[in-house]
Symmetry: C2
Subunit: 418 residues, 2 copies
């Protein structure tokens, strides 16, 4: 069969199954997820064996150590997946929640009810844990999933999906709720993202290149973020000790993440006082510093920052430092160079805090906290399927609620249109 037809058949199966998972009770959905966790536990050896084939193939291909590390399944990693599923079981079910209800003058009650989106397509790289994490979240929110992981993980993913499907079947649910596109060719992804009307939403997870390819070719709505160019602005009215701790955490705690700080903006009124200690601390932690002219005057050891650096997502221990005149210049800078991901102000001044919250148009805007906290777990959503910097549906970490939409419901007693 052609790739096109194979992908279409799988997506259609997901679509047909979506009606059944959409109306499943919370109890049933939880039972399925618990069973998935149980079956993972029972099949650890088999999973690790399947994964070993992927890892060996990857090693033969000379794939980088970091990628092989992400690809590798260990007992500990399987335990983490199991724990992830158990956490999803514990989260409240968003489906059926009536978020608002109001009475109209003609006596009808109008409300908005959360409903599943339908079929969610997730495209990701060679990280088998994503297969399980994403399935748990989408299923709890009443959706079917069509999964397509990186081709290097194909044996691991096929083994995982087999187990997930068994759990569905054994709870009497349609297996099509979890569907995996087990075709290595890139063409499969391109066919998948054309299936408007069958798949309802595409969530790509991975590097900027993957996400751009998906977004540029998709006929289905896509929720994603390309990159995280995040800022901390240290205002003249900041508690400088707090600012030092927040900036250090935002850059150093885990620099390879999308919510790590890439540029530190410092108000010129406190730059002389703040920068020497702060930059020394960064240097001691091995951070490569690039500074503007004013920064260099205060701390000559920094390299020159170029304009294009301000657009960079380093994902590494590299930091741009810029001294700005005031909060307006800071917001201007964030608006121009930022990626609308995570931005923070450190200040004791009420008005500036509120101004920053209002005017910075990012997925999460922080006052006196680290950008590293932009995360589903940290925010209490329980888990996240990704972070959106898009303009519609949802910005920021997307948890169960963001995997639903709302419809209008009306309780009438004979109302007609006059």
């Amino acid at each position: 069969m052609e790739i096109k037809q194979l992908v279409l058949n799988k997506a259609k199966e997901a679509k047909e199954s979506s009606r059944f998972i959409a109306k499943a009770s919370t109890d049933l959905k939880n039972k399925i997820i618990v069973r998935m966790a149980d079956y993972l536990k029972q099949n650890k050896d088999e999973l690790i064996k399947a994964n070993r084939i992927d890892v060996e193939n990857a090693q033969k291909k000379g794939i980088s150590k970091a990628l092989i590390d992400r690809l590798t399944l260990t007992e500990k990693r399987i335990d983490e997946m199991i724990k992830g599923l158990q956490e999803v079981v514990a989260l409240p079910d968003p489906v059926g929640e009536i978020t608002k209800m109001w009475l109209r003058p003609n006596g009808m009650q109008v409300g908005k009810m959360r409903v599943p989106i339908g079929v969610i397509g997730v495209i990701y790289e060679a990280r088998p844990n994503v297969t399980v994490d994403v399935t748990g979240l989408c299923l709890k929110a009443g959706n079917s999933v069509v999964l397509r992981g990186g081709s290097e993980a194909i044996n691991s993913n096929i083994a995982l999906v087999k187990i997930l499907k068994e759990a569905l079947k054994d709870e009497g649910m349609h297996e099509g709720v979890v569907t995996y596109i087990d075709i290595s060719q890139r063409e499969a992804v391109l066919e998948m993202i054309k299936l408007e009307g069958i798949i309802d939403l595409i969530i790509p997870r991975g590097g900027e290149g993957l996400i751009r390819t998906v977004t540029e070719n998709s006929r289905i709505p896509v929720l994603k973020h390309y990159k995280g160019v995040c800022h901390v602005f240290v205002d003249r009215d900041a508690d400088l000790a707090m600012a030092e701790e927040i900036c250090f955490n935002a850059k150093v705690q885990r620099p390879a993440t999308c919510n790590a700080m890439e540029t530190m903006l410092v108000d010129e009124n406190i730059a002389k006082k703040f920068l020497p200690n702060m930059l020394k601390k960064f240097e001691d932690a091995g951070v490569e510093l690039k500074g503007c002219l004013k920064t260099k005057k205060i701390y000559p050891k920094v390299k020159d920052v170029k304009e294009e650096d301000f657009y960079q997502e380093y994902l590494d221990l590299v930091l741009n430092v810029k001294v700005v005149k005031n909060i307006d210049e800071a917001i201007e800078h964030i608006t121009k160079y930022g990626s609308a991901h995570s931005d923070s102000i450190v200040t004791k001044d009420y008005n500036k805090a509120m101004k920053f919250l209002k005017e910075v148009d990012s997925s999460a805007v922080f006052v006196n906290a680290s950008t590293r906290l932009n995360d589903g777990y940290q925010f209490g959503l329980g888990a996240e399927i990704g972070i959106s910097t898009d303009k519609i549906h949802a910005r920021g970490p997307m948890g169960l609620e963001e995997l639903t939409c709302t419809k209008f419901i009306v309780f009438g007693n004979g109302q007609i249109r006059q």
Copy 2:
């Protein structure tokens, strides 16, 4: 200049202006809208003069009477636009609303705040009133608009937009908040919908053909409904007098609208009792009836309904009638043939009412009320920019709230990621 460049320049102007309208206070936005209404009032003659050119051109081209009627501006129609703007002034501003806020164990307050979407592109047919209605709603929700109306209305729209821009300028707001693509060529639309990253959302309004062209070619998210194939299901436990009134209203009150009923589904247990009166009443109102075999047995005068009829949006006094075994068959039918727009059940049975509400996946689901009530005004949203049957962002009538998104805000006091 090339069309491509002209469209790009206009959209960029809208994008630059969007930051300013996004942070404008409710007072300022209301002042602008009031001024727009005032200037419309002061310039009625000029508007009607510009419109006359469009109408005369349309008449020369031999355009249909119905379309010319929609194109024509009268004093009454301008008064309606003014009234529409005044109503938008009276609506609460959605921007800045904090919809939720919760405390995390580390002491930070996390919330979701409504924010404008940014730049909204609206593509519509030759109805000049849409220019004003859409502008009022988008602006109140803090968005810029890029408008593209049907080419037959170009003189009217240019005259209207000139007035709207004057109001913006006179209140000290960037004129780019309202931008009109005054290029008749269809190419302009195709260029407009490619501007991903500049225009944030496209809302097409008009016939199914226009909407399909826009959706198929857009690189920007689109919210729309293609058509309304709406149903009323008369359950065996219905109050039959109420059912008669609701069905009659749903079909006859204004058949050319998207929320009018196209197929009436009747439980076989009450079909014999319900159909004769009901169908007679429809006939007397000039409704052409197409029925299934069971319907024909009860009321032989109806024509045969064909399967393809069930997919039809008649927009006219034509109705399909189908007798079904029970609620399950009714929901099955709606799922298969419906357009996820507006569907209603008439029943006195609590369990069936709740089942229908839950399992019918339409933008608005009614119990004991007419589908004709699926409308922003009727639901109390104040006004609507359109109805969405899409799966993400919003389903149903889209008012001010649906013209916003939410971002996360965090009030911290030094929190870092552990």
